[in-house]
Symmetry: C2
Subunit: 343 residues, 2 copies
């Protein structure tokens, strides 16, 4: 198996180890933080998709208002937007990206509380922040998998603690088992689907709400590993014009776990079927839409935790498409560096 | 000429008329608003790209912290995130989209100040907000052009007033002339480029900072009108993995007007040239990168206003690609409705 395949398989254990090692630390951080009016998160790439998860999860769990930082304001433009009332969080695999570090430094300069979520407790990001959640993931592949799902777990952990509902933490502790069940259930389907998409010219994952992060991260994995033209969409934004791309035969992956957004996703599946698109539905149960391929999600997590499982079939699919095209997933096309330092 | 072509040509006049009719109203709104810690904008589709412009322009002009709302939280999830300290702005062409209206209603329910930016002063969005800026644009095409650039002007107008620097308003008043100059300069190049891209399988506009809105809006126009696979990227995020799509011959449009982000864009042009990509540079002056095609920007606006001109060559290019493919730009593929109501 490829190194990437090994790392995909190791995600349930990585999340379990993170929760074991960092739950007490997260509890202390939440107790020590001063009150804040809203949260700002700075991140890039896959880490920005973990931030996108927080954008939906933290308001649902704890009513927190959310903003995603525009790091280039701080670096390229030399602007320091007012952060009155904000908690500022930086998420970075390596903790090295200067633009993400700049946002955290700016926040500290304005006297705002800060948290770093990173693999490296000695990194510039971790050193710049008041508090650190250490992901503890050792990842060799350029395409982030274990780091991403562990970042999601870190976001979920903080949200669960802010919710003051102990049942949320219990749910989160069930995530590793659900992840393992999903990997098992999705692997054979992903392999078949990868072969079917061996000559596809594009692929569009679509989601709504909590799983918007999944759509964007799935697209990024397929771009990174296969170089295929793909982008994730919100179902709402997709209807605002982009649906013109859903021509006959175009493959779309609709991410539709049980929950408040599922109805809208299944309605979109019907609209896309009427346009002749090639529809894959990622869900716990077989979709009702005629002709749609079912990519299964295992376990029984509540919707707010579903991004931890929903990305896994997407990672497997990216690897399967690569293998069907004769691309070595450990030597992805056009990617050279694990640590990207953007200013 | 197509209706869409007429509307593209009418943009300088639409922006001029908006500034004439609404500058006094905007000044009254800015005077009446209570203090706020940060601004939240709710929008969808092209209007969301105007919001993305505000995300960069308002911090640069007035140090305002910015958040883009996730409307589905309010509708699909029934969550009311705390908006303590926020000014809440809704942008919508029609003022009809229920999810955008829901964010404004939620903000009023929390006692926060609200502004609507819309064409229709009698729309649900306008009725829900404390204050309204009326765009005054009559647009027949499904693909928004005049409405988008007038929304940008509305964002720029509020930012200029918040800056308390009268030179900013003077700059904005020069925008219509710069827009006319850009349409004239870009039209012949866009026509040639459209023919060259008649068989392209994809197209990726890339920008940084202020013009990230331009990259996303250009991609949306090409998707809506041509149905081509395309998506806008931040140059920083593009380097985080997505650069794998920049295979030999892949067309990329680098949006690089003079200003703080131009250096990074020209560095990216060199990186992409080394990968053999087909590079188009949108800028005031011919690019230094060997083999790059120059798509000109006219006039002499400062960078903070450049989105008002930079989108115009993109609109012309979308029409030119459509015509080169035998697509009627007034009958775009797969789009049926001008007003999209998402919940």
């Amino acid at each position: 198996m490829s190194v990437l395949g090994d790392e995909i398989a190791a995600q349930p254990e990585a999340v379990r180890a993170f929760l074991t090692s960092q739950t007490a630390a997260a509890r202390r951080i939440v107790e020590k933080l001063p009150p804040f009016s809203y949260a700002v998160i700075a991140a890039r790439g896959s880490s920005d998709h973990a931030a996108l998860y927080a954008r939906y999860a933290w308001p649902q769990l704890a009513g927190i208002g959310m903003a995603l930082a525009a790091p280039s304001l701080h670096t390229v433009y030399g602007v320091s937007p007012r952060l009155d009332g904000a908690l500022v969080v930086g998420i970075s695999q390596s903790g090295q990206s200067p633009d993400v570090v700049a946002v955290i430094e700016d926040a500290r300069g304005q006297g705002r509380p800060t948290i770093a979520i990173t693999n490296d407790a000695a990194s510039p990001l971790a050193r710049a922040a008041d508090h650190v959640l250490v992901l503890g993931v050792s990842e060799r592949s350029i395409a982030a998998t274990k780091t991403y799902t562990t970042q999601l777990a870190a976001v979920a952990l903080l949200g669960a603690l802010w919710s003051r509902d102990p049942a949320r933490l219990d749910d989160l502790e069930r995530a590793p088992a659900a992840m393992a069940a999903t990997l098992g259930a999705a692997a054979p389907v992903a392999a078949l689907l990868g072969a079917r998409l061996a000559t596809a010219g594009a692929l569009f994952p679509v989601a709504r709400g909590t799983n918007l992060c999944t759509a964007h991260e799935m697209a990024l994995k397929v771009r990174e590993i296969v170089g295929l033209h793909t982008h994730g969409f919100s179902a709402a934004d997709f209807r605002h014009g982009s649906i013109a791309m859903a021509t006959p035969g175009t493959p779309l992956v609709l991410i539709a776990p049980r929950g408040p957004a599922a109805g809208d996703m299944h309605a979109l599946a019907e609209e896309l079927r009427a346009r002749g698109a090639d529809i894959v539905v990622l869900a716990e149960e077989a979709p009702a839409t005629t002709g749609a391929t079912w990519l299964p999600i295992g376990g029984d997590l509540p919707e707010w935790l579903s991004p931890l499982v929903a990305i896994l079939p997407g990672q497997l699919l990216a690897v399967a498409i690569a293998e069907a095209r004769g691309i070595d997933p450990d030597q992805p096309r056009g990617l050279f560096a694990k640590v990207v330092r953007t200013l």
